[in-house]
Subunit: 464 residues, 2 copies
Amino acid sequence: MTSSATPSNAVSNAVGELRALLGDRLSTSAAVREQHGRDESWHDGHDPDAVAFAKSTEEVVAIVKICASHGVPMIPYGTGTSLEGHVAALHGGVSINLMGMDQVVTVNQADLDVTVQAGVTRKQLNIHLRDTGLFFPIDPGADASLGGMAATRASGTNAVRYGTMRDNVLALMVVLPDGRVIRTARRARKSAAGYDLTALFVGSEGTLGVITEVTLRLYGIPEAISSAVCPFESVAGAVDTVIQTIQSGIPVARIELVDEISVGAINKYSNLDYEIAPTLFLEFHGTDASVAEQAEMVGAIAGENGGGDFRWTTVAEERNKMWQARHDVAYATVALRPNCRLWASDVCVPISRLAECILETKKDNDESDLLAAIVGHVGDGNFHVAYVVDAEKPEEVAEAKRLNDVLVARALAMDGTCTGEHGVGYGKIDFLVAEHGEAVSVMRTLKRALDPDNIMNPGKIVRL
Amino acid sequence: MTSSATPSNAVSNAVGELRALLGDRLSTSAAVREQHGRDESWHDGHDPDAVAFAKSTEEVVAIVKICASHGVPMIPYGTGTSLEGHVAALHGGVSINLMGMDQVVTVNQADLDVTVQAGVTRKQLNIHLRDTGLFFPIDPGADASLGGMAATRASGTNAVRYGTMRDNVLALMVVLPDGRVIRTARRARKSAAGYDLTALFVGSEGTLGVITEVTLRLYGIPEAISSAVCPFESVAGAVDTVIQTIQSGIPVARIELVDEISVGAINKYSNLDYEIAPTLFLEFHGTDASVAEQAEMVGAIAGENGGGDFRWTTVAEERNKMWQARHDVAYATVALRPNCRLWASDVCVPISRLAECILETKKDNDESDLLAAIVGHVGDGNFHVAYVVDAEKPEEVAEAKRLNDVLVARALAMDGTCTGEHGVGYGKIDFLVAEHGEAVSVMRTLKRALDPDNIMNPGKIVRL
């Protein structure tokens, strides 16, 4: 879909200046624009008027100043793997592609931190770190850019142990909507020196500025890593195992629920033979002794909750295959119905309500004609529902919307959130008042203060 | 010191309305005002015009609305244990004492969280939790209120393992400068639903609103806890032990440096007999096996760095005595010179620079005539210098100021921060531009947006 609410002469003047700045790194081709206006979600794409491919913070500054001077909206763009329409150019404007900023700036091995340009992806970073004994754990599935992961407060399978991007970004370099550049913090592990600008920009989805550099915490690669797959008689048994594990303080590195529909999809997609049952995928990090101890404790809890045999994979290659299968679950699920799209929603609730929330959601899904699978980072109380929708059939889209509305309302009623990790984009913008009430007006005040002309990714998180 | 920059008729009108609201819970007595205008720091006190003792969020709303309608400044007040003049009424106004809001609202044992009113102290909370098997770890030394700890982004001895208030506040209830009430987040463990208002208010030092309720993460009391004291031949050896411990990923719960001056002060103050040497105080949390494993690993590192015998205290009573002595170090140090005050500064640097930073600082202190002791939460790269100053002698105050300026400049040059945990108040406000540069203008923008009349604790963090 093409859309532009910005006066065309403003856009064409800006595009002219950008072309003078960037040469052939400024594109107005239909294919490039279409690609940059759409993410991996079911949400309608909205093409930007142009795409600027930036190579440095200085170039981003120049791009931002040009756009700002013409009142033209800007949308920062990384790998386009967001799930709530974050990159859609709702009001036209210029998509700023940051993937050319792909340099690891500094590895501070002794301090367990690294500074990267925004376009470095998480896998690229871990390859770069290979000889240091360190790694960056946050793993949202997609090989997303670290700038994008910061901008969307990404999370994923490891968050139960290592936290989310909120916990692992030490500092950011940000280009503000007027072209000023700030660094939000120093490299010290903690600070009480003023407002937490780092946290304000983490999760701001490009609506307050363009993140061009990210300083991240790193971790030592654990001495021992072991993974396991364990089927359960029921979803309730699997979820209760998770809850009791977390409540016991066992520091699992990953504890993922994959429902029987998703297991079937994985088996078919990746040619595997997991038992078709609600299943936990687990990983333990630590010393040899502590990994064995953790596994034993979780094994005992699982046994009391109808868990079957643990299928262990201590070999790195096996482990990678297993987690690749877990990460591919979205593609595997959508592959169950040809020519369909995935509507991937996510909510997060206090863990005491997790079993109830998942079971009621599963009942809704079972009663619907729509194919819907559940997977989740359940150690955080976070789970996903993947609705497989034929976008050509309005009744299917309407049914997905109905189920998603019920899901979010249920999570909010349980003191949970409308999104644990996918973010707001424009797909969840209408749930924010229900979740935050008056606090949304504070978010609006912040947005107006930092982006008074509403040119940074307008129409996302809050509407003005 | 009495100070009021607010027109006296505005103040007297506000005080009249507050007295009608609160009766004898509105005080204008000189003693009460003086007590509320001064914290535990060396900074000059500035008396508020009145002190309002609030019992509920609704009362805080009423107080804020009265003050706002008259343009009268407000300063939230907890235990008054801040260290950079946070509570000084620089422009007069009304101190809002929140210690009457002392109720634990809800313990969610299964979710490992708790909601408390702002005036509940950390020790009160842990007593309340005694039968649950859970505890709240953050321990800044003083038995501070949890509202105050959130407002100042408090930290302390346990932060190396459990993080700071930034990491442990799940949600806040805040009364905004115009009397609106917001809740910054739900109880879900993570969320990607909009700007991180929780993090914005944590560490805002009462400059953006009044925190009236705090939702906190809790932790299971570890199966095993063991503590140790270990003297070293040199400060360098002690600090290198810390650095190597952190770099090895050993999850120590506490690792505190106490220099030989501080050890002497502790011995005298608490009638103890620790060897007069640079010393590490350590604590390990975990299962029996993991605690033993951690202690063995740290012991080996210490041995390679000139560490002497570990003096173990596994008995809870012994352990408490040891940590009480550590917590009393400020009082013990100031007791070394009668009629003096303590100027307690703190900085935090990347851990690779910690040894260099501490050694150069120690050299400065040794070359000065002023008595100065160093202690620190060194696992975070955070340490304190306590200057013992005769406030009647301007040359001593000037010397402390000189040493502190050098200390902060050194920390900033090492990519560190001017305060790891004490905060800005008005004592460190002049270092903020040197630390953050243009980002301070963003902080000013946020302050103006949320408190356009500059009535919430004016003159702290940023000057307008």
